[in-house]
């Protein structure tokens, strides 16, 4: 028994080191999670079946109402879309004039969150689409409002998404108003991001919208991320304390949007796709 426990401890420590430093264990994890998929399925059953029931037994009136409101919303969105199309072409034309490479239009896929509780001390969610749908490690995940996070583990049926508020996550952002670049670090709290290393005199205000800067090549450019909620400038400190609240409904979302970027910036020294343990894209955390 004693030799066995020593063996178990050594193997566990070796596994942890390998899982943390290198990433050879992704295949093992993926295979195991396929084997364990039935457990996830059973746990998710009450939610999926209740959704199915409410869809099946909703009344004609409810459906009519829903239809009407959806049609109204669709009309509004289409009107906005028209404006967007013209803006997009204009933008593309101007960029062509400036001779800068930029591509608009991305492939997206909608996935549902699986109702399964993961480790309570990490900000992760499980989604019901996996590598069978073409999802890869490091893929950006959005919700209807803003960036949610990125994929860190995949198996054929499900994928684990690391949210932007996890302490291991860092996201290159810029202030939408003036283009000031920074990095949004997760704090471990679901409603807070932190912008470190911004000098006291930097031009950032409460209410500023942070968007992805696209540096690092993992997230597409220009998606909203968070809104600055507090800027504290202490004259004695070298840097201002800047906090932001994610625009995505991280704790309430039920659907997630997976994005395939058409123009990944490959040559910026960005780490390639098979290093999922560096979710901090181009930058590593201090």
């Amino acid at each position: 028994m004693t030799t066995r426990v020593v063996f178990a401890v050594v193997v566990s420590v070796a596994l942890m080191v390998m899982d943390q430093r290198q990433h050879h264990l992704e295949a093992v994890r993926s295979t195991l999670s396929v084997v364990l998929y039935p457990l996830n399925f059973i746990v998710n059953l009450p939610q999926s079946s209740s959704r199915w029931l409410s869809e099946t037994f909703s009344t004609r009136k409810q459906l009519h109402e829903q239809n009407r409101s959806l049609r109204k919303e669709n009309l509004l969105l289409q009107a906005r879309q028209q404006k967007l199309v013209s803006l997009e072409t204009e933008n593309q034309r101007l960029r062509d004039l400036l001779d800068s490479s930029f591509k608009i239009g991305e492939r997206v896929l909608i996935a549902e969150l699986v109702a399964v509780d993961l480790d309570p001390f990490r900000q992760q969610v499980l989604i019901n689409k996996g590598s069978r749908s073409g999802i890869y490690n490091g893929q950006p995940v959005l919700d209807a409002n803003a960036v949610m996070g990125q994929v860190i583990h995949t198996n054929p049926f499900t994928a684990t998404v690391l949210l932007i508020t996890d302490v291991r996550h860092a996201l290159p952002v810029q202030v939408n108003r003036n283009g000031l670049r920074s990095i949004a670090l997760g704090t471990g709290r679901i409603n807070e991001l932190e912008l470190p290393n911004l000098p006291n005199n930097s031009d950032i205000q409460v209410g500023d919208l942070l968007v992805t800067s696209g540096l690092g090549g993992r997230f597409p450019t220009g998606y909203p991320v968070a809104q600055v909620i507090s800027v504290i400038r202490e004259p004695g400190q070298p840097f201002a304390t800047v906090k932001a609240r994610p625009k995505a409904y991280l704790e309430r979302a039920r659907e997630a949007l997976l994005v395939w970027t058409l123009s990944p910036i490959k040559n910026l020294g960005a780490d390639d796709d098979d290093t999922p343990e560096a979710p901090a894209s181009a930058t590593s955390k201090p």
Partner: protein
């Protein structure tokens, strides 16, 4: 070993599966901190009751499964659970003789050891130190132990698990 035929492996497996399901069952946000370490409790019971069948190996395997299910580092729970199985195995004969309330206290200590190991690993990874609510689930586990013990013992007797 060969004298007593092995029986009732299905019950052991089923109780472990149930513990895994309870571990990932979605709970409302406020209830999450009270979720006991089901897998540790079940492991402690079976290691005490059938030490020749359940031990370090099963503990390690359960830990790896938990790691995959909950998305922690591979080996994080495996390390803790194999050590818990080892300690329980060492003292299973004493543990059997204890009255239930005294068993609960021992179980509390075991559950706390598991948490401390988790805390060390989280610290080594540079994750922030969790709040005090991190220590609630061992207490819940201690309070649940008598019921888990009685239910599993009755099951074991009924299906004559050896």
């Amino acid at each position: 070993m060969t004298l007593t035929p092995r029986r009732g492996g299905g019950i052991i497996l089923a109780s472990f599966l149930l513990a895994l399901l309870l571990t990932i069952l979605p709970l409302p946000e406020w209830a999450r901190i009270y979720r006991p370490q089901w897998y540790t409790l079940v492991l402690i019971y079976w290691t005490t009751a059938t030490p020749q069948r359940v031990g370090v190996g099963i503990g390690w395997l359960t830990g790896i499964i938990i790691d995959v299910l909950t998305g922690t580092l591979l080996g994080q729970h495996a390390l803790a659970l194999s050590l818990i199985a080892y300690i329980t195995h060492k003292m299973h004969q004493r543990l059997r003789l204890f009255p239930i309330w005294q068993q609960s206290l021992v179980v509390l200590v075991l559950l706390l050891i598991e948490r401390v190991l988790q805390l060390w690993i989280m610290g080594a990874l540079g994750q922030p130190v969790p709040t005090l609510s991190f220590w609630i689930s061992p207490l819940v586990g201690m309070l649940l132990w008598p019921w888990i013990y009685i239910i599993l013992r009755d099951l074991r007797r009924k299906f004559q698990v050896r």
